[in-house]
Symmetry: C2
Subunit: 243 residues, 2 copies
């Protein structure tokens, strides 16, 4: 596989059910289409220690890390400070951002708005949108929690992450997962270039198990699907070819 | 606050976008209505080491841990083994479960189905449904990934987790978050029994910021809302009383 990624959603409002998550869901689909392997999503509270502990851990394990939320001007916006603390640095006010904040709010500027100009020392500013950059610290991309803004800012930087696309095939089978299991084991062993998933479903009319086969090499995926279909014989309901 | 909880969703299929998460979303609402404070959700791959590392870590930090997925008979069902490894024990076949598996499948039994009778040594079997128990290891409740089954099994055990309900009030305000920030800070400092969240919205007609106020003590929540409303004066659009 190619590049890996992790997502840290920072927000009491998700954990307490006040808002449903939209940002991780959006990013799952985006990363998939970019060919990046998403390896972990964690939803954590607006808590300084938890942010400081979680984000650097993700940054060591994955190629790219995306955070959502906690970047506004109020008491519960702790992401910048948490990330700074986690990486052993501090938050600094950046003149380039301060100028943009002052220009945007003009004489309506409240002191708290200047928190939007504060980032971990050493952070990079990535301009897609010409006015408001995305703040990145090392391999951590710090995105806002408001879904519309989250999406827009990710769009500004998405092409940096493009990797080899994944190929996916689906095989729908009748029969119990227990009957399929030894055949799946055999195909997994014989086709290291393909990754298999097995998902039983009890509410479908025409199949009992969806088997997914995926990988970066279309030939390897095709060979694994053919092998599995041959082994399962009349248990196969249909195969949806690699997209 | 009362009892805390964490959720570990185990499933490549969520991370790769083949299925959307339904189980964490369901459990967020259930835990909320039970008065349990959800502190973390992690979505991790079908990976033995990751399961073994993640689940015991959750079990140490939270009162209750719920896992979703990875409990079937196929090669990608690694939850029981991962949890056993993480807690330094091993998987054993339980005669009580083996009898149920054999009775259910009868002469259609495939050897792989017997994996459903294997649990970490020392696990408890919790009967809500009279036939298929929920498997628990210490404070970890091991639930299946198929959404219909996940919900049914959680319903079987949900009353064990009932705690003090939370009270929530919402204050909708016009005006910029930066203007609200010092008032929120003051209310947070003066009302330790209430937890405030501030959520800007840019697509609403009549308000710019939703402030949530919550806690276990209705009087403390009410006092905090009244204090905030008095401070904000005409910036208040409306208050939705504590439910």
């Amino acid at each position: 596989m190619g590049a890996t990624a992790g997502i840290v959603v920072i927000g009491d409002e998700i954990l307490s059910g006040k808002f449903g998550d939209e940002n991780a869901r959006f990013l799952i689909a985006e990363l998939r289409s970019l060919g990046v392997e998403l390896r972990r999503i964690s939803v954590i509270p607006d808590d300084l220690d938890d942010i400081a502990d979680t984000v650097p851990r993700f940054a060591r394990r994955f190629d790219h890390v995306f955070t959502s939320g906690g970047v506004g001007p109020t008491h519960d916006d702790l992401t910048m400070e948490g990330i700074a603390r986690g990486f052993g640095t501090r938050v600094v006010r950046v003149p380039e951002l301060e100028a943009r904040v002052r220009a945007y709010w003009g004489d309506k500027l409240a002191p708290a708005n200047l928190r939007l100009a504060e980032v971990p020392a050493g952070a990079q500013l990535l301009y897609g949108d010409p006015v408001w950059p995305v703040v990145a610290y090392q391999n951590v991309y710090i995105l806002p929690g408001v879904p519309g803004l989250f999406r827009r800012k990710f769009q500004d930087i998405r092409e940096r992450f493009r990797a080899a696309p994944l190929v996916l095939a689906r095989l729908y089978a009748r029969g119990d997962e227990g009957v399929l299991a030894p055949h799946l084991d055999a195909v997994v062993a014989a086709h290291p270039g393909a990754k298999l998933g097995s998902y039983p479903r009890f509410e479908e009319q025409d199949f009992r198990v969806l088997v997914t086969v995926e990988g970066v090499d279309p030939a390897a995926v095709g060979a694994a699907v053919d092998d599995l279909a041959a082994r399962l014989g009349e248990l196969v309901v249909r195969v949806e070819p690699a997209a």
